[in-house]
C-alpha cells in the first residue's frame, strides 16, 4: 500500500496523456447534454406537479392536448439526433485511442494473479511498475498468465482487458512527468484490489539513464534467442536444418500466405498463435509438423521468444 500517490484535486481527475484531454472534452459534452435534458424535464415536472396540483382549482384545465403525435415525433427526433451525434463523437475517438501511431516503442506486459510484470525490449524487467518516457508513444503488448485482468491507467483515460491465450494491446503517450496510478480493473480474485502499481513518467534522458542502470541479462531478443535454442526451435527454423520449416527472418509485419489460401499479416498475435497452436495457421507449402508449445512456455518466456522472432525482421540474419 506504500505506492499510493496523493493527487491534487478531489473533484476532477488529472488528465495526463495525449488523448486524455479529448476524452475529458467528450465528458463535458455528455454532461452538457445530460444537464440540458435533465433540467428541462425537472422544470416541466415541477411546474406541472405544482401548478396542476389538485388543490389548485383555479388552474386552467380546458383545451387539453388531445393529439399527441406532434409532440411524440418532436421529442423522439430530438433525442435521436442528439444521441447519434454523441455516438459519432465517441466512436471516432474510440478508434483513435486504440490505434497506435507508427513508430511507437513496444513494451510487454504480463498480468498474473496478482501482479503486473513488465519487460522492456532492452531486457529490463519490473513488477507493478512501468517506467516510460514523456511525450513519446509506447505500445503495450499485454497477455495474461491466468484469468482476465484489465490494465487501467486512470490519469491517461485508458484501459484494456488482458486475456489469457491471446495478446491485446493499447498505446499511450504521456504528456507530463510524474507518478500515476496503475489499477487492475477486471475482477480477478482474492487480491484484485492489490493488483495495483505505478506508472513512472520520466524525461527522455532520465528514462535512458534508468534503462541503463537496470540489471540486465541481455536484451529481450537475446534472452529469446537462448530460449529459441533451449526449446529446440532452432532445430527446424534455421537454414540448412534437416526439417523444412518456414524461415523466420524478415517475417514480422509481412503478409504470410496460408495453406487455406488466405493471407495473414504476421503481427504479435499471429506469431504467438503459431507457437501455441501451430496447426491453426499453416504456411502455404509446408507440412503441419510443428508440435504445440501450449503449456510448455510461461507468458514471460513467450514474450521473450516473440521479441526474438520480431528482432529477426529488423536484422535478417540466419539464427545459429
Amino acid at each position: 500500500m506504500g505506492n499510493w500517490v496523493p493527487r491534487g484535486n478531489p473533484f476532477w481527475p488529472n488528465a495526463d496523456s495525449a488523448y486524455a484531454g479529448s476524452v475529458d472534452l467528450l465528458f463535458l459534452a455528455l454532461c452538457a447534454v445530460a444537464f440540458l435534458v435533465f433540467s428541462l424535464l425537472l422544470v416541466l415536472l415541477l411546474r406541472f406537479a405544482i401548478h396542476y396540483r389538485a388543490g389548485n382549482r383555479d388552474a386552467d384545465r380546458d383545451a387539453r392536448i388531445r393529439k399527441s403525435w406532434m409532440f411524440e415525433s418532436a421529442w423522439t427526433a430530438a433525442t435521436f439526433v442528439g444521441f447519434v451525434a454523441l455516438f459519432f463523437w465517441g466512436a471516432t475517438l474510440y478508434l483513435d485511442i486504440y490505434r497506435p501511431p507508427a513508430g511507437a516503442d513496444t513494451i510487454y506486459v504480463v498480468g498474473k494473479q496478482w501482479m503486473w510484470k513488465v519487460q522492456h525490449l532492452g531486457g529490463q524487467r519490473e513488477i507493478n511498475e512501468l517506467h516510460i518516457p514523456v511525450n513519446e508513444a509506447v505500445r503495450l503488448i499485454m497477455s495474461s498468465q491466468d484469468v482476465i485482468h484489465s490494465f487501467f491507467m486512470p490519469e491517461f483515460r485508458i484501459k484494456h482487458d488482458v486475456l489469457p491465450g491471446t495478446s491485446e494491446e493499447l498505446w499511450v503517450k504521456p504528456v507530463k512527468t510524474g507518478i500515476f496510478h496503475l489499477f487492475c480493473a477486471e475482477y480477478c480474485g482474492t487480491d484484485h484490489s492489490r493488483m495495483t502499481g505505478r506508472i513512472v513518467v520520466m524525461q527522455h534522458e532520465e528514462f535512458s539513464d534508468w534503462l541503463r542502470r537496470q540489471d540486465v541479462d541481455g536484451t529481450l531478443a537475446a534472452q529469446g534467442a537462448a530460449l529459441f535454442r533451449q526449446f529446440g526451435c532452432s532445430g527446424c527454423h534455421t537454414s540448412g536444418s534437416r526439417v523444412r520449416a518456414p524461415p523466420l527472418e524478415g517475417l514480422y509485419g509481412r503478409p504470410v500466405p496460408l495453406s487455406g489460401g488466405t493471407i495473414e499479416v504476421a503481427d504479435e498475435r499471429y506469431i504467438r498463435d503459431s507457437i501455441l497452436q501451430p496447426r491453426k495457421q499453416v504456411v502455404a507449402g509446408y507440412e503441419p509438423l510443428m508440435p504445440s508449445f501450449e503449456g510448455k512456455l510461461s507468458e514471460d518466456e513467450l514474450v521473450r521468444l516473440l521479441a526474438y522472432v520480431k528482432s529477426l525482421a529488423a536484422n535478417p540474419e540466419a539464427p545459429q
Binding site: 500500500m1 496523493p6 478531489p10 481527475p13 476524452v23 467528450l26 465528458f27 455528455l30 445530460a34 435534458v37 435533465f38 424535464l41 425537472l42 416541466l44 415536472l45 406537479a49 396542476y52 396540483r53 389538485a54 386552467d60 384545465r61 387539453r64 392536448i65 399527441s68 411524440e72 421529442w75 423522439t76 433525442t79 435521436f80 444521441f83 454523441l86 455516438f87 463523437w89 465517441g90 466512436a91 474510440y94 491466468d146 484469468v147 482476465i148 484489465s150 487501467f152 486512470p154 483515460r157 485508458i158 484501459k159 484494456h160 482487458d161 486475456l163 491465450g165 491471446t166 496510478h181 489499477f183 480493473a185 477486471e186 475482477y187 480474485g189 482474492t190 484484485h192 484490489s193 497452436q277
Partner: protein, 536 residues
Amino acid sequence: MSGDKNYITVNNSIRSWLFTTDHKRVAILYFASITLFFFIGGAAAALMRLELVSPAGHFFTSDEYNRLFTMHGVIMVWFFLIPSIPNTLGNFIVPLMIGARDLAFPRLNLTSWYLFMAGGATTLYALFKGGIDTGWTFYTPFSTMYSNSYVAIAVAGVFIVGFSSILTGLNFIVTIHRLRAPGLTWYRLPLFLWSLYATSAILVLATPVLAMTLLLIALDRVFGIGIFDPARGGDPLLFQHLFWFYSHPAVYIMILPGMGVVSELIACYSRKEVFGYSFVAWSAIAIACIGFFVWGHHMFVSGQSPFAGLVFSFMSFAVAVPSAIKVFNWTATMHKGWVHFDAPMLYALGFIGLFTFGGLSGLFLACLAYDVYVTDTYFVIAHFHYIMVGGMVTAYFGGLHYWWPKITGRMYPEYWARAAAILIFFGFNMTFLPQFILGVLGMPRRYHVYPPEFEIWHVLSSAGASILVVAYALPLFYLGWSIFFGERSSANPWQTTGLEWQTSSPPPPHNFAATPTVTRKPYDFNVNGEPRAQNA
C-alpha cells in the same frame, strides 16, 4: 366489505397456503420470499459499505469482501429484482386487471414458486457453506478454473430459478392473450400489462440462454470440458457474449415492470389518461426488442472487434430513445391534470427523477471513448443502481403502496408512507451520487482496499447507506402494522379506473362475482378528474 369470505379468510390452514393455486395467494408467497431475499442482499450491501469507510478495510479479509459483493449481486439480481414486480404485484394484479378468475396456468404458477424457493435454497446453501467469490457475473476462466469457492452450487441455484422465470413469463403471455374480459382489446389494456407482456417475452426468450451458459460453467468446472479455457482451444470471451446476451435483456426484465407501475400511478394521481398511450405501450415493446442487440456494450474494452463496438454503441444509444419517450409522456400526463401527492405518487415522481438521471448516465457508458475510461469503475455501479434501485425498487414500493389496500383490505398510514418515500429518495442519492464522482475520478469497482484519496466519497456514500437502511426498514414496520390495525379499505379507495378496483378489497377467491365487460379505454377520467367505470 360484505360477509363473504375473501381470498385470505377463505381458509387459514398452512396447507391451504402451500398448496394454493390462487394467483393472489401465490403472490403473497412470493412477496414473503423476496422480502427475505431483499434483506439478505441488503445486509451484504450494508456490510460492504461499512467496510469501505476505511481505505484499508478493518472488518473483513479480501476473500470475505469478495464473497459479500458476490452474494449481494447474486441475491439482488435473481432473487429480488427479477421476480420483484412481476411475481408479486404482477401475479396479484394481472388477472384482476383483465377481469379473469386466475392466471392461465394456476398450477404452473405455484410450481414456479417452488422452483424459486428450490433455487433460492440452493444458492443460500452455497453462500452459507462458504460463499462464492466470482462476482455475480461469473466471468471465465476465473469462475471455471481459478475460483476456490462454491461456484457450481450457486450456479445450480441460479439455473433452477431461471425456470421459475420462464414459467412466469409463459403464464403471463398466455393469460394476457387468452383471458382478457369481453371488450378488453389490446388498446384498452392498462400500460402495466403492456410492460409485463414485454417483460414476459424477454423472460421466455433470454432465460434459456442463461441456463445454457450456467450449465457450461458447471460442466467446465466439474468435468473440465474446457470450453472457456484458451489452453484447450476454448474462448473466455465466449462466456461474456453468452452471459450478456441474457444479462443485458435481464436489465429490461428488471426495469420494464417498474415503468408499467409508474404509468398506472401517474395516471391515477393525475386523474387523467396517460399522455401518448400508444407510444408508451409500444415503447415497452421497442425496448424489449432493441434490448436484445446491445449486449456487446459490456465488452468495449474486452478485446471484441472495434467494429462490433461501434454497432453495439449505436444500438445502446437507440435503446435509450423509447425510454426517453416514456419519461416525456409521463411528465406530459400531469399537464392540466389534478395532481395528488399520495405516497405512491411521491414514489412515482422519485422514480422519474432517478430513472432519468440513471438513464442519462447510461449515455456516458454507451459512448465508446468515455466508456473506455469509466467501465469497471464506480461509475457503472452508480449508473445501474440508479436504474435498478432508484428506478425499479422505488417503483416497486410505489406499486406496493398503491395496491396495498387491494391486497390486504387495509389502508397504509399515509404520513409514515410519505416520510419513507422522501427518506428513501434522499438516502438513495446520498449513497449513489458520491459513487458517480468516484467513477469519474477513476476508482475501480470490486476493490476491497483503495487509495486514500477516494476515502471522503466512500465515507459519504456509506453515510447515505445508513440512511437508506432505516428508510427501507420503515415500510416493513408500518405496512406490517397496517395489516392488523390499518383503516379498512373500500373497493376503490383511490377513486380510479381499472377492473382490479371494481371488486372488493381484498378480492374474493375467484376475483369477480360475474365476468365484467369492458367498454372504455383505460384511465378514463372526465375533465374534473372523476373516473368513469370501466365496465358497462
